[in-house]
Amino acid sequence: MWSDLGLNLEKHDVLLGALGKAYGDLFMAQKNRPKKMEYYNFVISEVHGLRVKELVERKKAGKKVIGAFCLYAPEELVYAADATMVGLCGGADFSIPDAEAQIPRELCPLIKSFYGFKVGGTCPYFQSCNLVVGETTCDGKKKVYELLGEITPTYVMEIPHRTDTPQARALWLAEMKAFKAQIEQLTGNVIEKGALKEAIRLINEKRKAMKRVSEARKASPVPISGLDALLVNQISFYDDVERFTKMTNELADELEERNRAGNGVASADKPRLMFSGCPMAIPNWKLHSIIEGMGVPVVAEESCIGSRYFTDLVQPKGSSVDSMLEALVDRYAQISCACFTPNNERIEKVVQMAKEYHADGVVYNVLQYCHAYNVEAVKVGRALKAKGVPMLKINTDYSSEDVEQIRTRVEAFTEMLRPS
């Protein structure tokens, strides 16, 4: 199966070896983990095993697999056409040298990582895709999609960069329709209203389950570590939707039970930190592991791999396909990516979340060379400061060379929040 996918097996083994060790050190060593995390341990142990096999089998049965990098790819349309969507690999330092041999170094690590996974042939999900969906959320991605299109079928959605104009709204709707047509052409299935309604329900249920896990983290002591919660979010991008929803609801049940019993994973006298900013694609666990390594819990992620994915549901707007497409636009246009201007909604959301999750401070993550999130940190920091919530901005990539400096900064930040 593996060589059929065109995977570079030798390199892939190196990746899996490193991944397994990091997972053991960071996740399995945690104390008092929720029992239901066993499922996610299993998914990780089979990250490049059973799940890939499931996708390959679906493809053998004539179904299509769509890869995506961004929350703006409307997965409801993919599932309505009986196809499967997977988030693609882009969180590892491992694949960056393969990318830098071809594209500039001065790019965000996420872009370099995913491009490296494709040119190096080391991501089985990438290798399983019939189509990759890109989007125009940043200049780096846009230009790299052009290069990616030379080696694998790539479709780029145009995402407007304003939310407050009728032109932007019209573009959203037109893009939604064009994407639908593209998926219909690829799968040979026409998206009917019944299937679309069911797909909307399916994905709403998934988002609701994730929201329950997140809600449980508002409690003190927090019932689940930030690392584990981040992992659940990361896995949501490639696991089977129905199975994931079921298991995540079970995890939420356990967390709610823990909250009733006051059973937490971090001492209640430690400051609570909220994470905000650029996404952490699997296996990027860098900042969470640094923060929680000092016993300080991360209680929420205002991020694409985090709240931006599950907060908004698609609200029913009528039963015709057209009205459902409108409802999809309503939902997708609410995601506050820093690519929008102005983007006051995001700033309000960060402040609101910090309050709801009782965060003592916010750690703001900028992936190196991500100008949108980096510049927007100015406004976010200002708004948080006005509410008495300090913010620490960390500008970093996937390498380990600055881990000690970051550790010192985060530690100094927690000392500032809780003077001895």
Binding site: D402, E404, Q405, T408, E411, M416, P419, S420
Partner: protein
Amino acid sequence: MVRLVGVDIGAVATKVALVTDGTLTASHILPTGVDGNAAARRALRKLLETNSLTASDIAYTVSTGYGRRTYSRANRTVTEITAHGEGARRFCAEARTIIDIGGQDSKAISLSEDGGVLNFIMNDRCAAGTGRFLEVMSRALRVRVSGMGEIALQSQQPARISSTCTVFSESEVISLLTNGRDKRDIAAGLCESIAKRVSTLAKSVGVREKVVFSGGVAKNVGMVAALEKELKVKLLVPPEPQIIGAVGAAFIAGRLLGAEPKSTILGTVGEVPVRASPPDCFVRGASEPTIGRTF
């Protein structure tokens, strides 16, 4: 008598300070080398020997700095940010901003009126704007790093060093030398280049007076002048600017000791008051001794 020790294990130098009943009574500085724990132990042994003390005379030890976790004898560790905040305000109660340039990092810290850390920023990754940068440049210039500040002050027309990358700046210095540029102008240009970089850092946390300049690089008079010019404020340089972190750690040790359960402590110490300092906390070049200073 309650004796407290602060150990600051930096990337280049290890500093220890002994505070006895609220008075700084001794300090010692030596190179860190490759083993921070060994350097800290050597420095402490030296400190104890010269003061006819033994390890059991020390009530509490706090370590700080890059190598803080390597020191096996510390009761607690604290980051260099918190330690410098505490240390600077012990020297100058009116300190609101600290600029510290050490061997491998530079940082700016903003303090509240009660001495708490309000905000801080550290340099990212590279050695630009640190002591290491000056060390590399002094080798290229073939002058001693300790004498670089003096010759920089003699320059009438500082050279423009356009790059802040250590490696590129070194090539720039070499080509300036090849072109016959005076060493004094190059030294002054280097100080200006660091001052520009560090003042950008400091401005991002907000520069409020009084401003304390600490760390090994604060011993460089050329750097002090360049930074004052760039920031347009007067800098207060402690008599021994390198030990601020260690002094701060020793005072934090006092606070932590006060908070420990009585059964585990060797003595007690209350909150050591911060005395209001004279209007001019410390004057550069003044002959006031550090040791024996009462806080």
